[in-house]
Amino acid sequence: MDQLIAVCIDGVIYSSWLFTSAIGLTLIYGVMKILNITHGSFYALGAYMAASVTGALLARGMEPMLSYVVLLASAAAVALIVAPLLERGLLRFMYTKDEVVIMLITYACFLMLEDAIKLIWGVDPYFVAEPYGLLDSFEIGSLTYPNYNLILIGIAVASGLGLVYVLNKTRVGRLLLTVIHDPEISRAMGINVDRFYLVTFSFGAFLASMAGAFTAPTLSVVPAMGVDIIVLSFAVVVIGGLGSLQGAAVGAVIVGLVRSISIHFAPELELFVIYFVMALVLAVRPRGLFSVAEARKI
């Protein structure tokens, strides 16, 4: 029984972390049709910025409870500086190119950002464990979980529901749906499509760097941490269907549960099952679970 509960709780925690990491990817793809490999760079940048800034401030005697605000602020800083630079400086000139070509362009940017991170922060690992240990823990049966995990779950739920609300219930959201549906007509109707692209890209990048920032306290921040997260996020959003928010949520839950089941019962299959599920879903539903059929263009 205990193990069953553990599987479920681990699955939920891992799912929320996956969802936060992947949702920005699906948002950017849904609006701009860019499969953004720099997503991993933003994740790593967020983690580095959060770990170094929080660490430095804590060393100067900052009130420890403020560190959560600092984590969030560092993630926002990363997204506000780097994302507009990338979108305005490079990507906006590429929108006419093929989807695959844009993906390769973001791959090139990913390679450059990887080294930029090493140049700025060096190759030694960063640790900032305080925010993780600061809160108490909760108990279920004989199992103890740090309360920090509740923050991760909270962030996932808040960002998911927040996006759904903004998209469906606000003026900006309705305009964005129009842009998704047909950018050209939207432009003709007087919608500032460029600004929507800039904001979407930056916000998607912010979601990635926030995922990185709040993951930083749970592990050591090392170079190449963005490399793994990309394929993992791909798996999550592809299972759900590229560009679909519900899809990303379902994908995250599926991957999270599958992984936690495998870790508890067959740890040697951990990585295998994730991508096996991805391939299986693609084999049955080529565009993912929550996708709309698209007519072939002549």
Partner: protein, 326 residues
């Protein structure tokens, strides 16, 4: 307007009177074989690896001409390497040619199965499914203790037709074998692209539905190209396994597939020689930039990829064609 321009290009490309690919392949192979006699050991090694990876990229070329980019070519590269390595480990196979053939056939066999599924996919989904498949292999290998999990295992030195080369000659013999295989493969792919089936590759990229209205099967073309790509990647993997003497699961990781796509974009897909140019330039940047500043070599790679995509969308090879036309 653009249609007529395209057809002129294609005429000049395939006009038998002006197609010097066969001569060029043979000449370059001869030059490499001769240069290998005087080159230092490290250069022979680098060239061997570059040619082996060039073989993998050569396998990407027909796929990319159909407009499909496989982000999982490392699947077959790694599979070829492990098949060759395991043949040596379990069946005491040490002959280089046999190892390469085993690598290619195992990769090809898997592709015969997987290709049935993958040939239904287009654009970004083709890349994503192939990515997932390569990550499945990675996930399996990383956790398989019997195969050394993340450490991989060592591959014993090779023999060739029952003869074990002297210490000094090991690298030259290897280079020669790779050069000959690369030359033969290039010519085969070049020939394949001139058959009716091969010529349909570019037609698919231009307009798949029109092609199917004319009675051709796009899926069949994509399937054949996919299997060819897998066999070549298997060759490349087996060669690298033997040349380096060690294999590990990183060979199946997505960054490896990214490297192959990188090389293919760098040189372009205009000629069967381009993949080897791309692989050589990549290796050169990799080893020299890594030497100069280990922390910025990826930045140099990324910047060059970006410059090529933006300013030379058809790759470095298009420089040759421009020069010839001028």
């Amino acid at each position: 307007m653009s249609d007529s321009k395209l057809s002129i290009d294609q005429v000049t490309m395939t006009n038998p009177g002006r197609d010097r690919t066969v001569v060029a392949v043979l000449a370059i192979a001869a030059v490499v074989l001769l240069a290998g006699l005087v080159a230092p050991q490290w250069a022979k090694f680098l060239l061997t690896i570059a040619l082996a990876k060039g073989l993998v990229v050569l396998g990407l070329l027909p796929q990319m001409r159909t407009g499909l980019v496989s982000f999982g070519q490392a699947l077959y590269y790694c599979l070829g390497a492990y098949a060759a390595g395991l043949a040596g480990k379990w069946a005491a196979v040490s002959d280089l040619m046999v190892m390469i053939l085993i690598g290619g056939s195992v990769a090809g066999l898997l592709a015969l199965l997987v290709g049935v599924l993958l040939s239904r996919y287009r654009s970004i989904f083709y890349g994503l499914l192939s990515l997932a498949l390569s990550m499945i292999l990675y996930g399996l290998l990383v956790k398989t203790e019997a195969l050394g999990s993340t450490d991989g295992f060592n591959v014993a030195p090779y023999t060739l037709f029952g003869y074990r080369p002297e210490q000094d000659a090991v690298r030259y013999v290897m280079l020669s074998v790779v050069t000959i295989i690369a030359a033969i493969s290039s010519l085969v792919v070049h020939r394949h692209l001139q058959t009716p089936l091969g010529r349909m590759t570019t037609a698919i990229r231009d307009n798949e539905i029109r092609l199917e209205y004319m009675g051709a099967s796009a899926r069949r073309v994509i399937y054949v190209n996919y299997v060819i790509g897998a066999v070549l990647a298997g060759f490349g993997g087996a060669i690298v396994a033997s040349a380096v003497g060690h294999i590990d699961p990183e060979m199946a990781y997505w960054t490896m597939s990214g490297e192959f796509v990188f090389m293919a974009i760098l040189a372009g897909t205009a000629s069967v020689l381009a993949p080897f140019l791309g692989a050589s330039i990549f290796s050169a940047i990799h080893s020299f930039a890594f030497d100069v500043s280990p922390n910025t070599w990826q930045m140099i790679l990324g910047a060059s990829l970006l410059l090529v995509i933006v300013f030379l969308p058809e790759g470095l090879w298009s420089l040759f064609r421009r020069a010839r036309r001028a």
